[in-house]
Symmetry: D2
Subunit: 331 residues, 4 copies
């Protein structure tokens, strides 16, 4: 039984709390949040302790910590946790500043504790099946990958202003998917983008619609198209083409009803409206994989390096968007 503490009792923290409470082989011992009432609410619901200080979540009775606090706190908590010999599941991004990530890397590398970055989509049943098909050679030699990534709507301006921009905030998941599914580093990248949903995003030097091309070290090609808006819900599809066939990880729908009327036929429902619903199974599977890695003292699937490389790709895309030639991104 792994004893686990939680940093953060916000939206994503509460999701982890739910999964901790329902998870097997794991005990939810303590929660910390700078807002004590938020922490107390989680503690009440799940019968765990409230930590008075964040350090309490790294106390001797804790085996592992989940970091679901505000992004700027991630790297510090992660470093302290690793130093305290706690396994870590840290929400993405590790940090918005690659220099801070690089500075933390030696500590993580020197430690044997499992460190996992919260790339939950790796644990989505469809995306994972696709990765497994590629790895098993079911598609022959993979040649091209196309990722479609659309959120239902723009987040609030405040969020956007602190987000690090579309590539670091949103497309970082898709960059990770490319590395995860193809199993290769990226050698070259180009990008384009526009503020089409909300032209005033230009004031933030940001875009809401973007496309990226990537070439891997062996010459495989990858594309990501991304938008902050899709009126029909979360649209996140991945398609891989290989010498022997193709596989698409398509969108699930809340139900599998199909409707026909005078306007059309075969109409499925809207896609999910909320990423916590869309990826509910992925988050639960992610926690199970983390607990399993901790139990087996194994290197987790989405490690610190994965978090760093995704950020480097996001940085490169941001540079490319602004017309500056991105330095080669591998390794």
């Amino acid at each position: 039984m792994i004893r686990c503490a939680l940093f953060g009792a916000g939206r994503i923290g509460r999701l982890h709390a739910d999964n901790l409470a329902a998870g097997k082989q794991v005990e939810f011992v303590r929660v910390y949040d700078p807002d004590p009432e938020a922490a107390r609410a989680v503690a009440r619901e799940h019968g765990c302790e409230v930590a008075q200080r964040d350090a309490d979540c790294l106390a001797g009775d804790v085996d592992a910590a989940i970091i679901a606090s505000a992004t700027p706190t991630h790297i510090d908590l992660l470093t302290r946790a690793v130093k305290a010999d706690k396994a870590v599941l840290c929400e993405k991004p590790i940090d918005l500043d690659i220099a801070r990530v690089d500075a933390a890397q030696p500590v993580v590398t020197a430690s044997a504790v499992p460190v996992m970055v919260g790339f939950n989509r790796r644990f989505d049943p469809g995306h994972r099946r696709l990765r497994e098909a590629v790895a098993a050679g079911e598609l022959g030699t993979p040649e091209q990958m196309i990722v479609s990534s659309r959120d239902p709507g723009l987040p609030p301006r405040d969020y956007l202003a602190a987000s690090g921009g579309l590539f670091r905030d949103m497309m970082i998941h898709d960059f990770d998917m490319v590395r995860f599914v193809l199993g290769e580093e990226i050698k070259h990248l180009s990008a384009t983008g526009s503020a089409l949903v909300d032209p005033s995003l230009r004031e933030l030097d940001d875009v809401d619609s973007a496309m990226v091309l990537m070439t891997t070290e062996s010459g495989k090609l990858a594309h990501i198209n991304c938008s902050r808006r899709a009126v029909y819900g979360y649209d996140q599809r991945i398609e891989v083409h290989g010498s022997a066939g193709m596989m698409l990880s398509d969108n699930p729908t809340p139900t599998t009803v199909r409707h026909a009327d005078a306007q059309g036929t075969g109409c499925a429902p809207r896609l999910y409206d909320f990423f916590l619903d869309r990826y509910a199974q992925a988050f639960a599977n992610q926690l199970a994989a983390f607990v399993d890695a901790v139990e087996r003292s194994a290197k987790p699937d989405a490690d610190f390096h994965a978090g760093r490389q995704a950020l480097r790709l996001a940085d490169a895309a941001t540079e490319a968007l602004h017309g500056r030639d991105p330095s080669l991104v591998s390794p």
Copy 2:
């Protein structure tokens, strides 16, 4: 080159005329219609002759005749054509009265000329692929068949009054599909039906919504559901289940676009609104198969026996609907 004459210059006759004009190995020589202007219009469009009397379509320079005239004239023209040693493609139904069909049978049986009944759906690429899959054992031993058969809307009252009722007019195609796809005769049948689209159909002793169950000689099960109305267009699907799998011949759509908006995702267009559009390819393939049968002096796919058996099933369903126990329908 087969020289072919045409009886009937109405809606279905004009379709056959178009296919005759575009067909390979066939020459469209003459058309007859009781309305001379209708015949002349067809002749003008396709550069063939107008027959003054119906007998001209069975003259010595004619190899084959297509009977697309009014239903009550079918059996007489068919009989005369066979006696005149002309190959015949006769629109369905051969007749609404099984006694008249039975009376004509000896003439047809005694003759070697190919006689084909216009069960065009046998020549639809999807339905035929399904038949071939069954025949080739791709589904293992076939066990169940489900046919969905919906027209976009009610035909005019006059048409309905002379139609012979839902089973003989509309479901006759589906009865033929069951025999065609399963390749077996029907041993038992039950039926139910209602006038739900237009309750006044009860005055005609007819229904607009019906379902039938059938059991074949070897115990296979078949079901047909049928309606005179589907607001989304012609809905005609066939599904066969066997010991090794299932196959569905699904509806085609006018285009393969798919649409998503705030209401839903993956929406295909309405189905076809008109059977001549839905089965355009089937009618063209049917004519090619007829011409091929004539050239090879071969027994055609949908022969006189098929026309008779489909009518017997329609009769049995009509009896069953009225609560009279249908006599066994095979052979």
Copy 3:
């Protein structure tokens, strides 16, 4: 917080135990099974008590009972629970003998406690959405309903011999679906069936492949096709046609990947292989609905009457299959 006890620690009992443990507003207090080790295993996993005698599950500290024991015990436990003023969620079928069900009815009717029958499919998100669309008039006036119901494979011979036959064991769910979705009683029914998967079932006077037609009181038409075998997994679809459109509750797949290779395109995975996986969400929703009904002292969705009527339809179909005219089945 509802305090709930569980009868039965077999396959379906353990599923209810899992849901009880994870459920909100409910506490899993006690489990009984004639096999004490089975009960102890459940108790250990979920931290509840083991009942020494079945009566302990109806003790004063219990608000509600789930009956997931062997079918022959259902009606007795249900009656005792109601008399003890406990709310009941009883697995289907209530009993295989309508006379025993009828005998219990006065007790249930006289009591105010919620009694729910385990028609879990009513709580499947897709099937429920379909019911809601019908009830809300989204399809106009409903006219026809088609239910496809296939299990992956034959259960063991012992199970079959005690099952009450295909209609009472398997199709009973589908009969309930027809009443649930159309919201009407059945006036007439016909049936056919064969032992195609395993011809030796005839020795049990049973079939493994069956089809039923039904007519409701207002003349709506319904069809069920059913097989004990589908090599591609659980295939359970419901289709309703109305004056304004149609809706299909289609099969979910374990993932939404689609595959293309030299053999074909758009291939989805096999369907679920196990009903507990296929209906995992339905069982969880069912428990939540039961707890909710108990909390609100409300009449549950799938009540004793629903259980009785489904059995009466199964009886009528069994009679019809054997060529005996089924008596009218409503009310």
Copy 4:
């Protein structure tokens, strides 16, 4: 009735010959091919004349000419035809050398005769429906476009060596689709590509797998992914996302059967193996649109400018692939 002559009796010429023979309002008068036997074969099949010299196809009795000869002859024949006041339908590409295209432009611009370039995909029912939806604002303001374009397999080495490379030979259709569907010129483009199907293509300085990003003048984003190989057949999909929804023009399949067995469910057939089958309807519609434009002396849909712009985009992509910064491509 438009009198039409045909240059070229090869594969694509014979397709045009078939459509000319079946077309309405058009008469197929004459065919020329440097190989007289090829021309004679076409003439025999369709009952038209054989031209002794190419000039005979521009004689006084001809209203319009279809140029389906070898690519290097296109621009000369097109220029001569326009000077002779004949309407022209010229197969793509107009030429592989933009300088030669530019040189011909004044002649075309100065003339009033309709000149159409053979971008047949504009006349595919699905792609055209998508264009119409965009133009009608059904998707709101269009924001992104994704084009997938895969051929079943590599053409012969000889063909490839003379093809002008992937972008000019194959992706030129997709460049035209972007301009056609979005209705805007391209402001910026980037490209990547690899020889993954046949690494020896590098000897030809060519690739078989490529991806392109484009930004239109108003900031819309477009992507094309392209491969010379797809083991499941022609895969040509177009997806447009707008502020109010998205539409996909999906692949048609030869039939609409769907198959399920122990390996999977919902499997559709392979896609078409041959572009003449895939785009049979598009080619027929294209000819009808050309004839219509000639009859109405109207500017055709896919005009000379469209042919020139698609070539300029292909040139820009070729430059970009080789790491040379493409000049801006509009206007």
